[in-house]
Symmetry: C2
Subunit: 449 residues, 2 copies
């Protein structure tokens, strides 16, 4: 956290003149300068970054917590922007350029070295959510003829880049094919005279350049890796993805799933206030309209039972409560099943066991809530038969919504849909209409309508 007082002081400086900001910022760590820039307006933040020495500015741009990075780089003088981009690691550089406008790209990119431009062009080809789109390209290439001591010497000579410690790959010199991976630890612990090929791990875990980044994250988590090499279709190593890139992926993907479950299309990559309202509306209105159309079914059911409703108006008093509880019980099951699918605790072949289990849970929960509903109905003056109708319906709806809520994510995954897309609202809407049918059928029987 940046102290409020320091923030005020820097704001004042920015209003008066730019002189002396360096002194205020000098004692802050890079990550704190990033926090500071996040607090400032875009113009102010860019001014602060432009006044830092190059090394500090690169350090600040390298912070994962820094927001609006591309916008900040766009605000800088093109020469300065190019200088900073040049110093950043290839994956960070690509991420920043990816979000820059065409005009700004044309201004800034010519300032980069030819090598950086070529590399950038190659990386921009990969989709942003693929392994290629998030990989770093500066790994250490070792040739299989070296000894451990020679490899370490080579490492000391070439490794200025902090990420390179993660990944040393032994490659066939001519073809670039991956022979094995060796960690810095393996090298330090081995005898200096041993051949490298005896120390390296053969057949390391790899990913393909076009694999989805979520798959990459899963592999790194499953095998407890620090880094995983990225291979092109022809078997060449083109880069690697590190565990800290993957942490950001996991956080992003999971918060996206939360949005999906609430029937919001994700895909707004910008921070909250930077998204135009019409884009937010577009991400939400489609699902809402779909759910609305589903919701009109409830009206059809009610119109069909208009006679019963007119005869006993009190029937309508319990409708929101009944379908609300059904929706909630269904949502609990949906989310539990989605989570267990995500953690691979259950599979499609367990479907009937899962449905049975959830229905049993629904039945137990239903008995408790039905008892509460019976009491509540009687207390608010309903007749005994109406109260019994409400209680029986509550029980039936809990049973029904948990069974449906268990089956739907399982079926979704089976047919290749992301279960998280089948949001709780969708289940709720589906359970609403059927719940009403159950209600009126029970009412007709018990009340003799």
């Amino acid at each position: 956290m940046v102290p409020q007082e320091l923030l005020e002081r820097i704001r004042l400086r920015l209003e008066e003149s730019f002189v002396g900001i360096g002194a205020h910022v000098a004692e802050l760590a890079d990550v704190d300068v990033a926090d500071l820039v996040n607090e400032l307006t875009l113009q102010e933040g860019a001014a602060v970054v432009s006044m830092l020495p190059v090394v500090r500015a690169v350090g600040v741009l390298d912070q994962p917590s820094l927001r609006r990075r591309s916008a900040i780089v766009e605000q800088l003088d093109p020469g300065r922007a190019g200088q900073l981009l040049e110093q950043l690691s290839a994956d960070q550089r690509t991420e920043i350029v990816r979000e820059m406008g065409q005009l700004e790209r044309r201004r800034v990119l010519p300032k980069l070295s030819a090598a950086a431009q070529a590399e950038l062009e190659g990386l921009l080809q990969y989709p942003p959510h693929s392994a290629g789109g998030i990989m770093t390209t500066e790994f250490v290439r070792l040739s299989p003829g070296l000894t451990v001591g020679e490899a370490l010497k080579h490492l000391r000579a070439v490794a200025r880049e902090k990420e390179s410690i993660y990944a040393c790959y032994v490659m066939e010199p001519e073809t670039g094919r991956l022979l094995g991976a060796v960690s810095l630890r393996d090298l330090v612990m081995a005898e200096m005279g041993s051949p490298l090929v005896d120390v390296m791990r053969r057949k390391p875990v790899t990913v393909a350049a076009l694999d989805d980044r979520e798959l990459v994250a899963q592999k790194i988590a499953k095998y407890n890796l620090l880094a995983v090499p990225v291979l092109e279709a022809d078997g060449r190593v083109v880069g690697f993805v590190t565990v800290d890139d993957v942490i950001d992926v996991l956080v992003e993907e999971q918060t996206e799933d939360i949005l999906r479950m609430a029937a919001v299309e994700p895909g707004l990559d910008k921070p909250y206030f930077d998204n135009p309202i019409w884009r937010v509306v577009r991400k939400r209105v489609g699902w809402l309209l779909l759910l609305f159309v589903g919701g009109t079914l409830t009206g059809t059911v009610l119109r069909h039972f208009e006679g019963e409703l007119s005869a006993v108006v009190a029937l309508s008093f319990f409708i929101p409560m009944l379908i609300g509880t059904g929706g909630n019980a269904g949502a609990q099951t949906v989310m539990t099943v989605i989570r267990s699918l995500a953690l691979s605790e259950i599979r499609f072949r367990d479907a009937w066991k899962v449905v049975l289990r959830e229905a049993l849970t629904g039945l137990t929960v239903g008995v408790m809530i039905a008892t509460a509903a019976l009491g509540q109905a009687l207390l608010t003056g309903a007749s005994l038969t109406l109260a019994i109708t409400v209680a029986l319906t509550m029980l039936a709806i809990c049973l029904w919504s948990t069974a449906v809520g268990a089956l739907i994510p399982l079926v979704a995954q089976r047919v290749g849909l992301d279960p998280a897309v089948l949001s709780a609202p969708l289940i709720t809407t589906m359970v609403d209409a059927t719940g009403l049918v159950i209600y009126f059928l029970i009412a007709k029987t018990v009340l003799g309508l």
Copy 2:
């Protein structure tokens, strides 16, 4: 994935006799043996583990993907179980013992070395969700008087444990106070003769032993660390948490948040099928009953407007659709705001800007859905005035539920509650009753009831 055929072959072996399983499993990687054991029953899995050589068995128990670890260890012969636990790293050992029954602990723990027992006892004191509860204790202690070369030599002598590469800490020999941290990379890249104190990073990022593991995960993610040292209140280093422990924490915590948002109390640490139904019911019924009580408010509102309902029964046809859409629009806003709070894109001091923005989104979305509702009402035979009532209510409810949905997570965070606890169902229930009041007030005005 374990091929189905291999699984069958191993199952057959287990039924006949145990001879020859080793050969079937020998060529599999540890992680694949873990997958295999996951596929088998507990007894079969334990049989496979017990037949592996100790090194392989430890490797398999070390896999994060292995489920039922504690149960498997409990199934083993106590001597064998102790042997395997002794070889595991301290954090894994503690995690396994934490979930073992008292009886099994008394059988197995005496088989451990005195050092391992003492360490285990110390680690079991920390709450399981604290930094101390997930930390590893086998880090490399360096004394400040060493040169880089001497430190590397010491490292080569003591570092058999794979996790120790993450964390070399320079400590005051008498007090155990942390002076600095140094990575293997720093050591390899530095001049062999340099004093260690010139190479180490002073004031590294640290966490306290009782800090929540989620905070630890956030620090590691924010500062892009491989490991973070854990300090006791007196400043002594007692262990460290690595980035791969944190990945598991992030995945668990986030899936827990998803459950919370669906009104399920998390805290069932076991895999899906291993939880007794009554425990599952207990985790769900509390929230459902609370929401049920909130839901009975809708009945009160409806009873209050009984006259209007009897006069125009068709009013009731639109109730589920109206409150359903209101709930969905509210849930979209709640989840968006919770996500932006989690990513620190917004803060409490932005509250009014957020509410205004969400209300504006709600208004825009509301106009579209209200138009659809107007058409739908007219098509299904409602009078023009009733259709206008429905459309106006739809607009008002969208506006209202998005504004409330924006405000509530912000207020929750302000008063120190986890916004994720304020699940979408809670908001839906709150919006239901108020939405009905809006509906009947508009109906009274437009229809002149």
